[in-house]
């Protein structure tokens, strides 16, 4: 909402500067977003009359004018096509500033020039606001315009525009009078509202206009007034200037009046050419499905049955509250006008204007809610202006179809409730003053106030709404600063939150950078990940109205996000990448409205560890990432998991992937990304990735309950090197060693793997360090040898393992 400071001052006393007013309004709830100083770039530009014009001696397209500014005569050279003797024009004097130039004394083709005749463009004005013949030339003013008048005064540019940023509840401030009421409440100064009285002709409206509301739900009120002997022409300058200040283009007196009153009082009006209305009858009804109407902007609109239309018996004449129809539009030949001032249901107008993709100053106001009790007043105000401007004569009386009138609301306001909510005791007198300044009537009742809230403040229906009025006008920054009293509470993280924290710590400590990617993904990723058609990860939550195909579904796996980011980094020549993300994946659940959201850890590594003169860098491979996952389990005190070869996950290399199982559940998958998948993501290097179901992991993480006492007796170490077939998994051997090692075996460590010359082809040697220990005694050699032999025998039976010589 653009508010002219000059115009506003007509309605309310403003003893402060525009800047201070803006500050005070912003701090009380009606934010001033910007202060625009109109004409601030226009200096030393005045009205002047062209006395004589003579040809330029050296140029065909230029002329030399002798110009009278009222105080001096000046010679000016111009090339303007529409220059004439006797014209009153705007002259930028030597030293003048315009938005894009400074005027200096100049010689044009040898002839001295003391200024410049101005066009709209040069003044930074919209040429469309001026008559056609002036749009490509200089501006021209009536012959009786006084000379030497500053352009700002002449065009009303000596004004300041306050641009309001209104919150949705303050629809009452979508009018000059509404803003004036707010200013009056904020500054506590007097309102000076326009007095409205209509001079009517003898002709009565009775029998001339009939208004039928078929949809009282959607149209709460419809006021009509009739204007005769209409003389269409331009509206007066002062009105045009105010419209322009508000950002509305002047069109003709009749249209300008409707716009002016809308800006002044907030009530959108519509003017129909009465002569074109069939049977002088207005019917407010729903459009028929597919009904068509040319709107004022000359676009054919196809209407639907949830749209409200203003019709005559022949068909639609306007889309209610949104835009008029071309057919009943006011034209130069219009002689009688039916003026509409109506109330339409906000939600209906909102839907219609959205569905038609047609927004207007009018629809915007209806949408936010206007004052249903202001319709008649606004119609009268428009009639008064039309009559005063001599643009028409007002037929006596009006039609007011108002099916269920409602009055003001009375709300009980309790001072102790104000104290409770706001936290400060506002004196009763002050409360009363605030209410009265807002224009609300107040009665005292016991210790309380009964406040009568006018319908223009549709945002106020509860006591809390009034408390807010008190708080904001008392001043938020005058409210003291306290801290909550009452029972103390304990702030702590839940076990899950603490575990997630530990996981973030561990992952970063392991050298991975945390990333955050969007929860959306393109379903194409399922193909890029090689997922078979029946893979459960293809069942995703679909967004009904995504911004793009890239964001069509919610992720069921964090891999695509990680691979995308990897690809983006590698495209930028960022090498040696190690990254992870902790976020939710979304799994639809049959029969449930909401999907299951599973907290998931994803990690990728690709490239090498850092190296230098001191340490060789090496590839971050499967075992690198596996080591991180094992560290994570250790950090969370999780044991008893196993890594099982995974050939069925098509996103991964079939020979280099594992499912991680814990308590008979898959809790993670880890492996090298399948080369065709890396190719799909335009990754050139091998990528290792893992995806971990953190819910299951955290669930399994019991935390440390009791410590184990430190051993009192020494341990004994034995190494065992065995030869087995190449395809035997080390994990199985380790399991067998543990199984057969008995209570004495404390630790098994695989410290070497060898394949090569020393070993038969197709076989490999595994070397284990075994640690034996008892809690209650020092072990004897025999005991350890027994345990060792038991392991050896078991391995030789299960895996045909031979001790390596």
């Amino acid at each position: 909402m653009r508010v002219s400071y000059k115009w506003l001052k007509e309605y309310v006393d403003i003893p402060v500067s525009p800047e201070e007013l803006a500050e005070r309004m912003t701090m009380t709830g009606v934010a001033v977003e910007n202060i625009e100083y109109m004409g601030k770039n226009l200096n030393k530009i005045v009205t002047a009359r062209i006395e004589t014009i003579s040809p330029h001696p050296n140029a065909d397209k230029l002329v030399v004018c002798q110009i009278n500014t009222g105080s001096e005569n000046l010679q000016v050279v111009t090339g303007a096509p529409n220059v004439r003797e006797g014209q009153v024009v705007l002259l930028a004097l030597v030293g003048a500033t315009l938005p894009d130039m400074k005027i200096t004394r100049a010689k044009l083709r040898g002839v001295e020039s003391f200024g410049m005749l101005c066009s709209a463009q040069e003044l930074g004005l919209d040429p469309e606001n001026f008559p056609p013949e002036q749009r490509n030339g200089i501006l021209e003013f009536p012959g009786d315009t006084p000379l030497g008048v500053d352009v700002k005064e002449l065009l009303g540019l000596d004004d300041v525009i306050l641009e309001l940023e209104l919150t949705p509840n303050r629809a009452d401030c979508l009018s000059m009078v509404g803003v004036a009421r707010e200013v009056s409440a904020v500054l506590g100064t007097a309102l000076k509202l326009p007095e409205i009285n209509v001079t009517e002709t003898e002709e009565s409206i009775d029998g001339k206009v009939s208004i039928n509301i078929n949809e009282p739900e959607l149209c709460g009120r419809y006021v009509g007034r009739l204007i005769r002997n209409v003389k269409i022409g331009p509206s007066p300058n002062w009105m045009q200037q105010r419209l322009q200040a508000a950002g509305v283009r002047p069109i003709s007196n009749m249209v300008d009046v409707t716009n002016y009153v809308m800006l002044e009082l907030g009530q959108p009006l519509h003017a129909f050419d009465y002569g074109k209305l069939k049977d002088q009858t207005i019917i407010v009804r729903r459009a028929e499905e597919g009904e068509k109407l040319y709107s004022l902007d000359n676009v054919e609109r196809t209407l639907t049955s949830d749209m409200l239309v203003i019709t005559d018996p022949a068909g639609p004449a306007a889309i209610a509250g949104v835009m008029g129809g071309l057919e009943s539009e006011i034209t130069d030949s219009t002689t009688s006008v039916l003026l509409e001032a109506a109330y339409f249901k906000p939600a209906s107008i909102h839907r219609t204007s959205k569905n038609l993709n047609l927004r207007s100053e009018s629809s915007m106001r209806f949408e936010k809610g206007i004052d249903i009790n202001g319709c008649l007043n606004a119609a009268n105000r428009a009639c008064q202006l039309i009559q005063e401007m001599g643009a028409g004569e007002i037929v006596s009386g009006f039609v007011d179809n108002h099916p269920s009138p409602s009055g003001n609301t009375v709300i009980r306001l309790r001072p102790d409730r104000i104290k409770l909510i706001v936290g400060v005791e506002v004196p009763g007198d002050r409360i009363k003053e605030i209410m009265l300044n807002l224009g609300f009537n107040v009665k005292e009742d016991g210790g309380d106030f009964l406040v009568e809230v006018p319908t223009r403040r549709g945002d106020i229906s509860l006591e809390i709404d009034l408390i807010e009025e008190v708080a904001r006008l008392y001043g938020y920054n005058n409210i003291p600063i306290t801290l909550p009293e009452g029972a103390s509470t304990e702030g702590r993280k839940t076990e899950v939150q603490a575990a997630v924290d530990r996981i973030l710590d561990l992952m970063t400590e392991c050298g991975l950078n945390e990333i955050i990617t969007l929860s959306f993904m393109n379903p194409r990723n399922f193909d890029m990940l090689n997922l078979p058609m029946d893979d459960s990860r293809r069942v995703a939550v679909t967004v009904e109205n995504p911004l793009s195909e890239e964001q069509r579904v919610l992720r069921t796996t964090v891999l695509p996000g990680l691979l995308d980011i990897l690809a983006r980094n590698s495209a930028r020549k960022n090498k040696d990448l190690a990254m992870f993300e902790v976020g939710r994946v979304f799994v639809p659940v049959i029969g449930e409205k909401l999907p299951k959201e599973i907290l998931t850890l994803g990690a990728v590594v690709s490239g090498k560890t850092p190296g230098n003169w001191q340490v060789r860098s090496y590839e971050m491979d499967f075992y690198y990432l596996k080591g991180i996952l094992e560290s994570l389990f250790r950090a969370l005190n999780i044991s008893g998991y196993s890594f099982v070869p995974e050939k069925g996950n098509h996103a991964f290399h079939p020979g280099r992937a594992a499912s991680v199982r814990l308590n008979n559940e898959d809790i993670a998958v880890i492996g090298e990304i399948h080369p065709s998948v890396t190719e799909n993501y335009k990754l050139n290097e091998r990528v290792y990735a893992m995806e971990v179901n953190l819910e299951k992991v955290i669930n399994a993480c019991k935390g440390l309950k009791r410590i184990e006492p430190l051993p009192k007796y020494p341990s004994m170490e034995r190494d065992m090197a065995i030869v087995v077939q190449r395809d035997v998994h080390a994990g199985e051997i380790i399991d067998d060693i543990k199984k057969n090692g008995g209570k004495l075996l404390k630790r098994v460590e695989l410290f070497d793997i060898y394949e090569g010359e020393q070993i038969e082809k197709g076989y490999k040697s595994l070397a284990f360090a075994l640690q034996f220990q008892a809690a209650d005694r020092t072990l004897t050699d025999e005991e350890v040898t027994d345990a060792y032999e038991k392991i050896r025998n078991a391995l030789s039976q299960t895996h045909n393992a031979q001790l390596r010589a």
């Binding site: 912003t26 701090m27 709830g29 303050r170 939600a347 909102h350 409770l420 909510i421 706001v422 936290g423 400060v424 408390i467 708080a471 938020y476 409210i479 003291p480 600063i481 306290t482 801290l483 909550p484 009452g486 029972a487 103390s488 509470t489 304990e490 702030g491 702590r492 839940t494 924290d501 973030l504 970063t508 050298g511 991975l512 950078n513 945390e514 955050i516 929860s519 959306f520 939550v541 967004v543 009904e544 109205n545 911004l547 983006r568 980094n569 960022n574 190690a578 990254m579 992870f580 939710r584 409205k593 909401l594 999907p595 959201e597 560890t609 850092p610 190296g611 230098n612 001191q614 340490v615």
Partner: protein, 340 residues
């Protein structure tokens, strides 16, 4: 004999002084003081001495032994010290060579900011709650007092999944969810951090971003308490000399509502590019929980009151680290992430 002893002493001391290593010194010890050493050899002749001479010579012999031992010990520590010095000299390294490179991972800046906010509120006795990102219209709007035809409920602004189900547009739905569980229990002090979604994607909007919701419900919680908590939090987050300023605003689920500005940390309130020359930075929205919201979720607004606030994490991260393009936060460039 006395002369023999003295000359032995002289000889020993001379050899000790000349000894060049620990081994040599040990040989000297054996040579002079060992069981078969020279001193013992001399002392074997004690039998030939008179009773008067014997203690005298014995004393001298002891003195000689002590002198030699002392000299050996002294020499030994000298030699050890020299040897150590020599070893240390040999071990000198070039300390200017770069160290072993370790991989260091960093938390994402948004996580870091969230962590910091969580810590502040934990210290103030708040618990941390979470809610679903795919949310029912009921919790996202209705239970928060949004009227049925509120523009925010448009398909225009929210991502819909199915009728009545959408991606939450703010963390506020955690309010009614927590309230339903806790009512009528008081006091309630909760923050709810998380991801939220709106249908916007440009230089200043991401379709997914992060908020922290916070709310307190108790007997006699007032707007002045809200101011107190916010000031405390702002000062912990942005420094002890920050000021706050509250401007009336509008949210369907709070009333009175306020936008909260913090005095610009870049210029200290005097006006600069960061704060658009206003001296203030808008950082959060807040207000007293609307009585309808309390009522719908099981609290009696005549018995308890509460306040709520919500802040955007991206904005705070951008202010804190001088990030001028929101998209950098979701770009995840290694060179960006490594800086935090």
């Amino acid at each position: 004999m006395k002369d023999k002893l003295n000359s032995l002493k002289e000889q020993a001391l001379g050899e000790i002084a000349a000894a060049g290593g620990l081994a040599e010194l040990n040989d000297i010890r054996v040579k002079f003081l060992g069981k078969k050493g020279e001193l013992t050899a001399i002392l074997r002749g004690m039998g030939t001495l008179t009773a008067e001479e014997r203690p005298l010579i014995g004393q001298i012999a002891n003195e000689v032994r002590e002198a030699i031992e002392q000299a050996i010990n002294q020499k030994m520590s000298e030699l050890k010290e020299n040897e150590r010095q020599e070893k240390l000299n040999k071990e000198t390294i070039d300390v200017t060579l770069p160290g072993r490179p370790f991989m260091i991972g960093k938390r994402h800046p948004l996580t870091t900011v969230l962590d910091e906010i969580k810590e502040i509120f934990l210290g103030l006795g708040f618990e941390i709650a979470e809610g679903p990102e795919v949310e029912l219209d009921y919790y996202n709007f209705e239970a928060l007092n949004f009227p049925a035809d509120h523009p925010a409920r448009d398909m225009q602004d929210s991502f819909y999944i199915s009728p009545g189900v959408l991606l939450r547009t703010h963390t506020s739905p955690v309010q009614p969810r927590v309230m339903e569980k806790k009512a009528p229990h008081i006091p309630v002090k909760v923050i709810a951090p998380g991801k939220v979604y709106r249908r916007d994607d440009d230089a200043t909007h991401s379709p997914m971003f992060h908020q922290v919701e916070g709310f307190v419900i108790d007997k006699e919680i007032s707007f002045s308490d809200l101011k107190g908590i916010l000031l405390t939090v702002v000062r912990q987050m942005f420094g002890a000399d920050r000021q706050i300023r509250l401007r009336p605003s509008f949210f369907p689920f709070t009333e009175p509502s306020a936008e909260v500005d913090v005095s610009c940390m870049s210029c200290n309130g005097s006006g600069c590019r960061v704060c658009s020359h206003t001296g203030w930075l808008e950082i959060l929205g807040s207000g007293m929980i609307h009585p309808n919201v309390l009522k719908m979720s099981g609290y009696d607004p005549e018995q308890v009151t509460g306040f709520a606030f919500g802040l955007g994490i991206e904005r705070i991260a951008m202010l804190k680290y001088g990030i001028d393009d929101l998209r950098l936060l979701f770009d995840n460039d290694k060179r960006f992430l490594a800086q935090f």
